[in-house]
């Protein structure tokens, strides 16, 4: 493999140029973030306001609802619960997918089955399929067995949703390992378990972490399954976002923007840390370099 990372160098002039383009590209996001700091009249001002007095009201509004009549204490909203749900559901299902997926990926990589690549193909297809295709039968199935609106149901579903991605990702890491070390260890009488836990797993540790985080990102913004299969107590943030849309006063853009901004922060930092693994992540491990 010809690998020359010697890409062209450029100075601050290029930074200025790239900066302008990047800011133009980033502008819609910038506008959302700005809206989060605007009052309701400012958010819908004509002409649009680029300069305004920032307010934190929207962020407060995410967590507390002002009581209009009676002047009692502000009432807490369910948002902390939805944030918790998003993190909990995504976290547990990604962890489960990582464990089951890593074991399977090791199998696919080291002990190929008859028709190994066919299995891999079918697995990838299940991920490429539009969610709308499977959501109908899953919706009916969950209704039959009472999993609708439960944590167990949505977690199990997201585990399956993340598995194809995890298997393809982790297998690509296992495939890259130098098998000579394993062969040498095998000659020295290492058991299969020692090979897996002692030799292979430590070498792909960083890859596993990246896979886990990418799984989180993919699950984080999932909307359709969550919309149809979560209940009042298990609702995730994207569904809650959509629910702020219906209202007598019209869409409260400031409030929605505040939710979007808060929801973007964790994923933004994680992506920043994983920049070098990004390509592999977004292509499900099918493209390495």
């Amino acid at each position: 493999m010809t690998r020359s990372r010697e890409i062209g160098r450029a100075g601050w002039g290029w930074t200025a140029f790239a900066g302008i383009i990047a800011l133009i590209y980033f502008f819609p996001v910038m506008w959302i973030i700005m809206t989060a700091f605007k009052t309701r009249p400012d958010a819908l001002a004509v002409p649009p306001k680029f300069f305004f007095t920032p307010t934190l009201d929207n962020f407060v509004g995410v967590f507390f609802r002002a009581v209009i009549s009676g002047g009692g204490a502000a009432q807490a909203t369910e948002f902390p619960l939805y944030f918790f749900n998003s993190i909990f559901i995504a976290g547990v299902s990604c962890l489960l997918a990582l464990i089951i997926g890593t074991i399977a990926a090791y199998g696919f990589s080291r002990y190929p089955l008859k028709g190994n690549e066919t299995y891999m193909f079918i697995i990838l297809t299940t991920r490429m399929m539009p969610a709308i295709v499977v959501v109908i039968p899953i919706f009916l199935m969950f209704r039959e067995i009472g999993l609708s609106g439960t944590y167990a149901g949505i977690i199990f579903l997201y585990t399956a949703f993340n598995l194809p991605f995890t298997i393809w990702m982790v297998r690509s890491f296992f495939d890259e390992l130098n098998t000579e070390i394993e062969d040498a260890a095998r000659m020295d009488g290492a058991t299969e378990r020692q090979l897996f836990f002692g030799i292979c797993l430590p070498q792909v540790k960083a890859g596993l972490a990246a896979t886990f985080v990418f799984g989180l990102i993919l699950t984080w913004n999932e909307f359709l399954f969550a919309l149809l299969l979560t209940g009042v107590d298990t609702r995730t943030v994207p569904v809650a976002m959509a629910r702020t849309l219906g209202g007598e006063m019209g869409v409260d853009y400031g409030l929605l923007a505040a939710i979007v901004t808060l929801f973007l922060i964790p994923i933004f930092f994680v992506t920043f840390l994983l920049q070098n693994q990004l390509l592999r992540g977004v292509t499900f491990g099918t493209v390495r370099k």
Binding site: P28, A104, P130, V133, L140, L163, I167, V282
Partner: protein
């Protein structure tokens, strides 16, 4: 039956079920079994179920026993002009969006193919759209396109003095959807093209420099061969993903005006959850599944070709 008898015999002769299960020749199947079981329960089984449903006249709203109708729903879906209309809409949106993603992604990649100060941070700015929730993109692009308060309308009004409702006309709505989708996913294409640009050995450019080759010729003979398989990958991957387009369209235009932006994804959703024609939606879902299988095999073919080139 014969094979199960053989297995039973093997189990006995190897001294119990556990040692039989853990024998070396069963290691591969054993490792992949949990994953396959989960996938079977959550993906394959529901698909088979809906395959079954598509042979019956079933509606999720009714509780009566569905009657067997055979291939009627498949027949209805295939001969339904509305379905073909939706496929056409989807094809138009997918092809224009993927084309736009390619152009924008390629230009962005050229921008970031150099090493310059603050590159990592500026790159993050460009990657952010990919991380946004689809709901957020849908709602805020709807706001941008809105005739009274929207930025687009007000920018147009500066020149024409009139408000501008982009989503009001069928063509405008398609353009609106395509821009939102392409804006979100061009960074993805950029990442792929960037990988291709980085893999071009520098000495080739140096040689071209000495030969005083024109930039266009340099691109044709050096750069393009290195990125072409990745471009193919990008096209296929984005086609598969854009084919699913549902959330953004649903929030942005709800398929309108009329049915101008009603993609096949939105149509299946409507069939299943608004008209409660469960069986018909299941039959249609199968046709989508077929398309996705074809596209995925093409994609993997491209992946393998790229892998061979790199090695």
């Amino acid at each position: 039956m014969a094979s199960s008898a053989v297995v039973a015999h093997e189990i006995r002769s190897e001294g119990g079920f556990l040692p039989w299960l853990l024998a070396p020749q069963r290691r591969g199947p054993l490792l992949v079994a949990p994953a396959l079981i989960v996938l079977f329960l959550m993906n394959i089984f529901p698909l088979l179920w809906s395959f079954g449903l598509s042979f019956y006249n079933y509606s999720a709203k009714k509780r009566d026993v569905p009657d067997f109708v055979g291939l009627r729903f498949f027949e209805r879906v295939v001969t339904d002009p509305v379905v073909w209309e939706r496929f056409k809409t989807t094809a138009i949106i997918v092809s224009s969006s993927v084309l736009m993603q390619l152009v924008v992604g390629f230009l962005l990649a050229l921008l970031f193919a150099k090493q310059f100060p603050l590159r990592r941070i500026l790159l993050m700015l460009v990657l952010t759209p990919m991380m946004l929730s689809l709901v957020a993109v849908g709602v805020f692009f709807k706001l941008f396109y809105e005739p009274t308060f929207g930025l687009v309308s007000q920018a147009v009004a500066m020149f024409t003095g009139d408000r501008y409702a982009l989503l009001g006309s069928p063509t405008g709505a398609i353009i609106g959807v395509v821009i939102a989708d392409a804006w979100m996913w061009s960074p993805f294409v950029m990442l792929l093209v960037l990988a291709g640009l980085v893999s071009v050995p520098k000495y080739l450019y140096e040689a071209a420099e000495i030969d005083r080759t024109s930039p266009w010729r340099r691109f044709q003979t050096i750069t393009f061969p290195y990125i072409k398989s990745l471009l193919l990958l990008a096209v296929l991957f984005r086609t598969i993903e854009t084919f699913k387009l549902f959330d953004v369209v649903y929030i942005l235009t709800e398929g309108g005006p009329g049915t101008a932006t009603e993609t096949i994804g939105v149509y299946v959703y409507r069939l299943a959850f608004q008209y409660f024609r469960t069986s018909q939606s299941a039959a249609l879902a199968y046709i989508i599944l077929f398309v996705v299988i074809v596209l995925t095999s093409l994609y993997l073919y491209a992946v393998n070709r790229r892998a061979q080139e790199v090695d």
